[in-house]
Subunit: 353 residues, 2 copies
């Protein structure tokens, strides 16, 4: 598909924590950018979408909730919105899947319907970490939660998946890839990280331009303190550490922002200062808004699947759809598969000792 | 030792990144609080300490640097400052160890000299996470980096170690203990966390007031987002995740603070606002300063050992010494040993399946 073809996204019409209204407004914004949409949801709740050009609402009543066991639910409910939307992509009527509902159900439905890319053992969730202030390039963190347990070879594959995505969709020519760890030295980390470091270092060593060139630069370990300092384009970790880290960043940013707000209420002088500073801080608030990133993208499948942030508002929904559209237009899936094959980083080639 | 006895701290006179001057000023401040000090360092660099009442400088020339392999260095250098200071505690001349040098060397020296408490498999580093704004009670995070790999039974022991310290030194009557994970449900997490959750839940179930009462309340899993929200007094995790989390909090707080500062430089109006707001933000800066916490304490040994934050200034050194002094005065070691024995949470009683 070339960039001028129209992209059609299959959108889960349920599961947005902020309700159908957020879905409707977000979908309309994405449609006005020229992205086609097939929305699987309740036509009454989504009635405002019916008249929008390029948007089709497919009457769906069943949906999988956040608190259900995702794999069992996806297996047993073929008519639920997320399963139908994923099937829509698998059967070629849509070219990407987007959901603001249960992350687990979206991952399960996408994995069953789209299948893993040849040679990939585990798909991974990737999220761009936007740095407040906007002067530092965001790093792509993966795995942000698809696999709570990972082997060293999984981390090596995540490096390839993240690098291919950064090159294809984020426009980074030769991405710098780092491993998240507890020190910069190669022997710092838990056993999985130390083994992955060894494998990645061997791969990167002198392979540039050679057969086996990984297409990225391995820059070694990065610590939590420096992850937001722009030293790597892609930061690789297991899904447990990645998810904890992602939520720790959110929690810390919120705590600091709350404290600044409290300081600005602590007296008339501070209140005046806060009022004068507020316009300049507006951009900061926007950057820290999870809606800005468009959510997480599932890498390693034969197709594009994006999970919106749990509390996505209209902007979050629209940006998730745009991210999916960009991934399709930039041929992210095809380019990732090419990189894996060309560099030989497929499952069969990776061994854990 | 009762609270009225004088506490003597063995202080490593090397390793402070900000130099001997920070050590001297910090030690003097702690000594003026009535804490006795035996400082193992270079008498020329520490000459300003010689006249201070209650402070003794013990001429020491060898020291272990940050980039040395800690276990090998500690084993082979009996006259290095950290090894001599640890021996001073083991042989009863001092009652606690404090270092602002290499965390690894301090842990190794303390573990060799003080030995693990009966029934403890792995000591853990505990750090108080101060929440900006100061309205939320800080949680005690452990392990913050002593063990990159942990078994489920290690996490269970960390819960007991942290709870005993919170009760003895932080004055929390029946600490609420949480496991750091990726969701609140008991089955969310990696395999180690899920197994630890099961063991802790079984322990806590109906044992209150019974033999086997753990002396704390297990409140289940906490996510990275809520760790700073005051829901638990003690947060338990493995040393890899704990260290990454701790440094991620530092990095995020710094990025947000930098962004606020940048906003306050973005124009004359914002600059005036920043100037008016600055005094109210002063407390926030102090709270976010790692110096405020006094560093990390190593739990699970037959004695008190505190590692100052790597970049400790004078306040950080003084607070690390005060933390050690408080732990001795409050009989933290003895009370932890009692809790482990009484509740039966010793190594022999804990089994990983």
């Amino acid at each position: 598909m070339s960039m001028t073809d129209k992209v059609t996204v299959a959108l889960d019409g349920f599961g947005a924590e902020r309700g159908a209204e957020a879905l409707v407004v977000g979908a309309r914004a994405a449609a006005s950018d020229g992205i086609g949409l097939r929305v699987f949801g309740d036509p009454r709740e989504l009635s405002d979408l019916k008249a929008v050009p390029g948007v089709e609402v497919i009457d769906t009543t069943d949906s999988i909730a956040n608190d259900e066991e995702p794999v069992a639910a996806v297996r047993s409910r073929p008519e639920s919105s997320i399963v139908r939307a994923a099937r829509d992509v698998a059967e070629g009527r849509s070219s990407a899947l987007v959901s603001a509902g249960s992350t687990g159900a979206t991952m399960a439905a996408a994995t069953f319907a789209l299948r893993r890319m040849h040679g990939v053992r585990r798909p991974a969730l990737a999220v761009r970490l936007v740095v407040p202030g906007g002067e530092v390039a965001p790093t792509l963190l993966l795995d942000a939660g698809a696999n709570a347990d990972a082997r060293p070879s999984d981390l090596v594959q995540f490096a390839f998946l993240g690098a291919a995505f950064a090159a294809a969709v984020l426009g980074v020519e030769r991405p710098r890839v780092a491993l998240l760890s507890v020190g910069e030295e190669s022997k710092k980390g838990n056993q999985v990280v130390i083994a992955a470091h060894e494998q990645l270092a061997r791969w990167a060593d002198g392979a540039a331009g050679q057969p086996g060139d990984p297409g990225f630069e391995f820059v070694g370990n990065v610590e939590g303190r420096d992850m937001l300092a722009g030293t790597a384009d892609v930061t690789v970790t297991d899904g447990f550490t990645g998810n904890v880290t992602l939520k720790t960043i959110e929690g810390t940013a919120r705590a600091v922002a709350d404290a600044v707000r409290a300081a600005a209420r602590s007296g008339p002088r501070a209140a005046l200062g806060g009022a004068l500073l507020r316009p300049a801080l507006g951009g900061l608030r926007e950057q820290m808004d999870p809606d800005a990133t468009g959510g997480a993208i599932l890498l390693g499948l034969n197709g594009v699947a994006v999970v919106g942030h749990g509390r996505s508002g209209p902007d979050g929904i629209a940006n998730a759809i745009r991210l999916a559209g960009r991934a399709v237009a930039e041929r992210a899936t095809e380019r990732t598969a090419e990189l894996l094959e060309r560099s030989g980083a497929t499952r069969a080639a990776l061994r854990d000792r």
